[in-house]
């Protein structure tokens, strides 16, 4: 029996797992997919918000600011890219200044540090030369930041695993039954027993919660579509640029990413299907159109990919955090929509504290707070990278030309604990396939490496687990009666 089972290996689940691994507890993470970071955590704005957006007093407000504050330490300890590039809310209509002012006041109430309303045009031009010419003023938040959500999620999970947390993949939860001693969890892989449950199931947190509680939650998938631009466009803005929320809704943001691309989005469309991560022509058009409202001259021909993610919007509008009132030992992290990524580290700390207290758990004597990421030779000083290649020549062979990812990195991504099992897993860990050619050149080689490292056939290699197989063994597997008939005819005639 486990002390705690965490359901979901997105950023929230991984952060809770990492923090719970500080305690002398037997913890397991159940994940439906074959990898961590497969749901909302993989398709979002990759922003660590400063924290002026949420109403003062809400979990969103408190944990955003707290989570933001933790990111420097977490990125240092866990070795994932995080940059405080600052964020701006742009007001392009002098008549709407009171809205900007209200946002500023809200930020002060939320204790966001360093907020400032800037109206000095010269200074704004120096900070952001490509702001809209209509810019009247901006709200400047120097603590706003950008992060790689994949590497953050993976790093937290790897660190949790290093500290003894067990991860079970392809383990979708199909039922939860409350027992006197805790919970019995049914998965496709069998029954699991545990004293406590942490529900970090993202879009499905309502479904799981409602299995054990009469106080029902309701999560609506709210889709956001994005366009990602080539690195040549990555310096178009320096900070994260938001439109002033208003008549056009929350608007879309334009931001550099930690890897140097430019990202624009999201839309906000409520959908019924919790798996509907498809983009639509209308939403992509909306992203392209609205992105120009606060930022001028965006080189939109440089789009290299588009994608959509689903936010887990709970009807009560705030995060749902804490023990379910009528289900002792069942802890919810539900409705973790924006600023969920920003708040996740703080949610991890808070939730782990609550659960550990409820179990009267003691801290471990030896907690490994540090984790090192996959070494990218191009980020090393010359001597070190030369040394790396002489020790392991695979770091001298480039597989992904666009992002300059080496064979050594790809092999390492598969070999490390919680290693990659699919093309997308490799992509999230190494960026192979994430560049301007979008895996055209590297995917055949990455498939070969996956097959070789995992000891499987190429036909078993998937894009993202499940039935996402990439190739068939040969033409014999491609059975087409009419084709065979034709050949038969030819042979008979001959």
């Amino acid at each position: 029996m486990f002390d705690t089972v965490i359901i979901g290996a997105g950023v929230t689940g991984a952060a809770v797992a990492r923090e719970l691994s500080r305690y002398q507890l037997k913890v397991c993470v159940l994940e439906r997919e074959e990898d961590v970071c497969c749901g909302t955590s993989k398709a979002n704005s990759a922003i660590i918000h400063a924290g002026f957006d949420a109403k003062p007093g809400t979990w969103k407000a408190k944990l955003n600011v707290a989570g933001n504050r933790l990111m420097d330490q977490w990125s240092r300890e866990l070795d994932f890219p995080f940059v405080r590039n600052g964020s701006m809310v742009v007001c392009t209509d002098a008549g709407k200044m009171e809205r900007l002012e209200a946002l500023y006041q809200q930020g002060l109430a939320n204790q966001v540090p360093g907020l400032e309303i800037i109206t000095d045009k010269k200074r704004l031009r120096e900070m952001e030369p490509n702001l809209s010419d209509q810019t009247a003023a901006v709200l400047w938040a120097p603590t706003g930041g950008i992060v790689c959500p994949f590497l953050y999620n993976i790093a937290a999970a790897e660190n949790a695993a290093k500290n003894g947390v067990e991860f079970r993949f392809r383990s979708e939860v199909t039922g939860i039954i409350k027992k006197e001693w805790g919970y019995e969890i049914a998965t496709k892989e069998g029954l699991i027993t545990t004293r406590t449950v942490v529900n970090a199931a993202g879009l499905y947190a309502d479904v799981l919660h409602n299995m054990v509680s009469e106080r029902k939650l309701q999560i609506t998938p709210r889709r956001g579509s994005y366009c990602l631009l080539d690195k040549t466009a990555g310096t178009h803005v320096n900070s994260t640029i938001f439109m002033l929320p208003g008549e056009y809704g929350k608007g879309v943001l334009v931001t550099p990413t930690v890897h140097g691309n430019l990202l624009m989005g999201p839309t906000a469309v409520d959908v019924k299907d919790k798996e509907a991560i498809n983009t639509t022509a209308e939403e992509l058009a909306e992203v392209l159109e609205k992105s120009s409202m606060a930022v001028k001259d965006i080189p939109k021909r440089q789009v290299i990919t588009s994608f959509a993610g689903l936010r887990a919007h709970e009807v009560g509008r705030d995060f749902v955090l804490g023990e379910a009132e009528d289900a002792k030992g069942f802890w919810d992290c539900a409705g973790i929509e924006s600023p969920g990524l920003s708040a996740s580290a703080a949610i991890g700390c808070l939730m782990a504290g609550w659960v550990a207290d409820s179990l009267h758990a003691k801290k471990k004597e030896h907690f490994h707070s540090k984790r090192r990421g996959i070494v990218h030779p191009f980020e090393l000083p010359e001597e070190q990278r030369q040394e790396l290649v002489s020790q392991n020549p695979a770091y001298g062979v480039i597989v992904c030309r666009c992002e300059m990812v080496t064979e050594g990195e790809i092999r390492e991504a598969i070999r490390r604990p919680l290693g990659a099992r699919s093309l997308d897993g490799i992509k999230r860990r190494t960026r192979a396939g994430m560049g301007r050619c979008q895996a055209g050149f590297c995917s055949p080689r990455v498939m070969e490496l996956l097959a070789e490292e995992l000891g499987i056939e190429l036909t078993q290699v998937t894009k993202s687990g499940g039935k996402s197989m990439l190739v068939y063994s040969d033409a014999a597997q491609v059975h087409l009666p009419e084709a065979n008939l034709k050949w038969a005819d030819v042979l008979n005639e001959g």
């Binding site: 366009c227 990602l228 040549t232 798996e275 991560i277 498809n278 983009t279 639509t280 022509a281 939403e283 992509l284 021909r301 789009v303 290299i304 990919t305 588009s306 994608f307 030779p377 191009f378 010359e382 990278r385 030369q386 290649v389 002489s390 020549p393 695979a394 001298g396 062979v397 480039i398 030309r401 666009c402 300059m404 050619c437 979008q438 895996a439 055209g440 050149f441 995917s443 055949p444 070969e448 190429l458 036909t459 998937t462 894009k463 993202s464 499940g466 039935k467 996402s468 197989m469 190739v471 068939y472 063994s473 040969d474 033409a475 014999a476 597997q477 491609v478 059975h479 087409l480 084709a483």
Partner: protein, 469 residues
């Protein structure tokens, strides 16, 4: 630091032909840097025939064609490094210190491979021969899911022809570029069902012979003015939706056609691969995305040449070889001339290069003229594409330095019937040649003779356009 006279980036058809020609023109110290584990580039996966009719007067497959050049490279004992990725090209810093090339500007090529790790080569000249890549789905902004089963046509070609695996069973192809057409046939021959080839434009981007031999011969429908408006399937492609588009490429409501399929191949254009050229500061042509070169195939940076698909996308590899041989020859001339008259001092060269880089980006067309006027007093005539002619390669010629004749290649922007290709120098018409049909899928060429340019007035330009009579 390792030293060379000529570094060739890319060991595909362009790089190999350039190397062979440079060696035949007297250059000893040549290195080809190739990122794949074999020479030959994309030809290795083009196992269909039709290559070499011009060069060898016989019909070869891609690998056979590549092999001819590979044998020459080996016979001539030209050095090549495989699985070697060039990461940077820059102007050398300590030019005076170079003993191989005293007093001559030099170029530093940085690369990485498993044998030498990260290394640099100091060289007198570079030939850019990196080829091109395919436009990905993202650039097309096709809506829908992002499941397995969406491949660029070239990736599918590699999977089948090199690795021996089938990317799918029921296929829709978007884009009627030559690779897409070839792959329609290839997948059919391997037992897959190709349901349709959709093309956004009202005309195909591929060669007529490929439409006949790859689609019509197999009863594969070509749907012009159609595009993909949806991709279904969460894990693997389950179906796609095509729709007819209006003249601006916007899908027309009510024209959707649903296809049950497991694969979508994309053949929506090739883009010259010029990331390295950009880091080097080479001026690019806006239309092609390839370096702007003069009649010696020299880029805006002296000593840096370009040929093949990195310059502009060719229809036939034979033209690539021809162009690359010239690049090799001109690079050889440059190196030998530099040996004879090491005139420039390093700082001056550097300043000039810095100017090129910045100015060229804004006004690539002007760049060559100013450069040459400032340095050698030579006149460099710009070639202006007009009236349906989208671009030309080269984009300038020098009446003094040019060979007796220079082939100027270009593509047109639409389908034209019964037009004349005309070449003017100022008001004077130099050439006037009728074409029954001109399409964007077929590269056109004109030959400019040195004798045309006996008396050239200052600021005169060459104009190439299409005329009705």
């Amino acid at each position: 630091m390792r030293k060379a006279e000529l570094v060739i980036i890319g060991g595909g058809p362009a790089g190999m032909a350039a190397a062979v020609s440079a060696r035949q023109n007297g250059i000893e110290n040549i290195v080809i840097l190739e990122r794949d584990h074999v020479l030959g580039g994309i030809l290795n996966q083009c196992i269909h025939n039709g290559f070499g009719l011009h060069t060898f007067q016989e019909e070869l497959t891609g690998p056979e064609y590549a092999d001819r050049y590979e044998q020459k490279v080996k016979e001539l004992e030209i050095e090549y490094q495989l699985e070697t990725m060039v990461t940077d090209i820059s102007e050398g810093t300590d030019q005076k210190a170079s003993d191989l090339l005293p007093g001559v500007r030099c170029i530093h090529v940085s690369a990485v491979n498993r044998t030498y790790g990260f290394f640099q080569i100091e060289t007198k000249a570079v030939i850019l021969a990196m080829g091109c890549r395919e436009r990905p789905r993202g650039a097309l902004n096709i809506p829908g899911y992002r499941p397995a089963g969406i491949y660029s046509a070239g990736t599918a070609q590699r999977l089948i022809n090199v690795m021996g695996y089938m990317p799918g069973k029921r296929v829709v192809i978007l884009g009627s570029g030559d690779i897409g057409l070839i792959m329609a046939r290839r997948m059919t021959l391997e037992g897959a069902k190709v349901l349709a080839v959709a093309e956004l434009m009202p005309y195909s981007g591929g060669l007529k012979r490929n439409i006949v031999q790859c689609l019509e011969d197999y009863d594969i429908p070509l749907l012009l003015s159609h595009t993909v408006v949806n991709i279904r399937g969460k894990e693997r492609v389950e179906g796609i939706t095509l729709a007819k588009v209006d003249e601006k490429g916007r899908p027309l409501p009510g024209t959707q056609i649903e296809y049950e399929c497991d694969t979508l191949l994309l053949s929506c254009g090739l883009l010259p691969e010029n990331e390295l050229s950009k880091t080097a500061g080479v001026a690019l042509q806006q239309i092609t995305g390839g370096p702007a070169v003069n009649d010696r195939l020299e880029t805006s940076i002296p000593g840096m040449f370009a040929c093949g698909n990195v310059l502009h996308v060719h229809d036939l590899v034979d033209y690539v070889s021809e162009e690359a041989s010239l690049a090799g020859k001109y690079a050889a001339c440059y190196i030998q001339k530099a040996k004879e008259e090491p005139v420039e001092d390093g700082t001056k060269a550097k300043e000039r290069a810095a100017e090129d880089g910045t100015e060229a980006k804004e006004e690539p067309a002007k760049d060559g003229t100013e450069l040459e006027a400032a340095v050698t007093d030579d006149t460099e005539l710009q070639i202006q594409p007009e009236n349906g002619v989208r671009y030309t390669v080269p984009c300038s010629i020098s009446p003094d330095k040019m060979a007796d004749q220079v082939v100027v290649r270009f593509r047109v922007g639409g389908v034209y019937q019964d037009r004349y290709i005309s070449v003017y120098l100022g008001e004077q018409r130099l050439l006037h040649a009728k074409r029954r049909i001109l399409t964007p899928g077929k590269m056109e060429q004109v030959i400019l003779k040195k004798s045309f340019f006996q008396s050239v007035k200052p600021d005169e330009a060459i104009r190439i356009d299409l005329e009705e009579e």
